[in-house]
Amino acid sequence: MSDATHTPPAEGGTVAEKQMTRGQFLTAATVGVGGVMGVLLAAPVAGLALGPVFGGDDFEPVFIGKIDEFKDGIFTKVVLMPHADKPDAYVRRKVAFVRKNKSADDDRLALKGQEDFTVISNVCMHLGCPVQASTSGFVCPCHGGAYDEDGKRIGGPPVRPLDRYIWEKRDDELWATAIYSLDNHGNKKSHRDPGQHTSGPESWLYPLQP
């Protein structure tokens, strides 16, 4: 019986001959137990580091302005203050351009039921600088991206139309309840970072969004 550990196992040997030695067992046990302990220790650490990646979009409805502030066919610049009570509210603030539309045809990229107002985010869809209103629509000071009055790209490096907010009327106030990204035809896409395509073959590079 004990001889089995001293003779090298022959090809197709018996079960006893294939048994591991004490040294092999201890090595495997050390690596195995150590590995399990390592994973148990590392998992919560990785979870804390990566948690925000899978936290989802924590958009909370935010006040845009009084409805009678907004004029037909003219953009008004508005600062949105979500989480206004938090000490870092000034980091979280967003800027939007709001326009009242006379008819449904005034906004070629509007979603159904969202034609009365156009609420465009000021985040450039090249790499996220703040765009400014111009005579022809919007321009970005960083790398020269240009958009028309519906936020559709007309020049420069941006890869898609400007993001938009879903608005809703609350008495005499306008509120933003969500933010979404658009493809080049105005179709709604999930909100994503600037620089990521929503139309054409390049959009296949971003099949998953956190």
Partner: protein, 240 residues
């Protein structure tokens, strides 16, 4: 007083022997520094050491700056202002850190270019080159994460652009940008996040990579310059 000098030499050498017997440090020191080098070295061969000096400068000045810097959305900018205008030599130490950062990037390109021209990436030094490329990436990561900490308008918007740039990487990009930002939107949490990356995570990896890089350089020796390759003095056989 001749006796004192002899005593000091005697005891000093005994102490050194004792340390060497226990730690092998003298042998290590000889292995590390008293090496044969090929004929025809030039200033280009000093760039790696320059980088090491700049890295030590960054590590020391950064550690001291960390005594005064406060990474919070409502404290960071003011604490940098205090470093600049209130504390003695704060402006100088911060300047050393800031300009050292630029110098490190410039020197890294020069060092990489010189190593490439010397053919120092070829057998048997492939691992030295690969570890150098990882050091390169980690150093760029230091530049990215350090830039935000100033927390002025330029720091913030440059970081926004850089994070979105990471977000455009295929497939994993959207996850990388969320990881850097610490969520879907920009909040005050981004400052301590970048601070931890800049102070702890990336430097930790960087130090390990630098040790590996220097071990490989010491083990494999310096590449002779291409125009000195056929010099009989550079025949490895002639060295031993």
């Amino acid at each position: 007083m001749a006796g004192l000098k002899e005593d000091l030499t005697h005891h000093g050498s005994k102490a050194l022997d004792a340390v060497d017997e226990r730690g092998g440090l003298v042998g290590f020191h000889k292995w590390f520094l008293f090496r044969n080098v090929p004929k025809g070295l030039s200033w280009l061969h000093t760039l790696g050491f320059c980088l090491l000096i700049v890295f030590v400068n960054q590590a020391v000045t950064g550690s001291i700056l960390a005594m005064y810097y406060q990474p919070g959305a409502d404290t960071a900018y003011e604490s940098v202002q205090r470093i600049m205008f209130e504390f003695d030599f704060g402006w100088l130490v911060r300047g050393m850190h800031k300009w050292g950062a630029s110098a490190m990037i410039v020197l890294m390109f020069l060092h990489m270019g010189a190593s490439f021209m010397m053919g120092a990436y070829k057998y048997p030094r492939e691992l030295t080159w690969i570890s150098g490329v990882l050091i390169f990436a980690a150093t760029l990561g230091m530049g990215l994460t350090g830039y935000l900490l100033v927390w002025d308008q330029r720091a913030f918007w440059a970081s926004v652009v850089a994070i979105n740039l990471n977000g455009t990487a295929p497939f994993l990009g959207p996850y990388i940008s969320e990881f850097l930002r610490g969520g879907a939107t920009y909040t005050g949490n981004i400052l301590p996040r970048f601070y931890a990356l800049h102070m702890l995570l990336i430097p930790g990896g960087l130090i390990g990579l630098i040790v590996l890089h220097m071990y490989l350089v010491t083990r494999l020796g310096v590449t002779p310059a291409p125009w000195k390759k056929n010099d009989p003095a550079n025949d490895p056989e002639a060295w031993s």
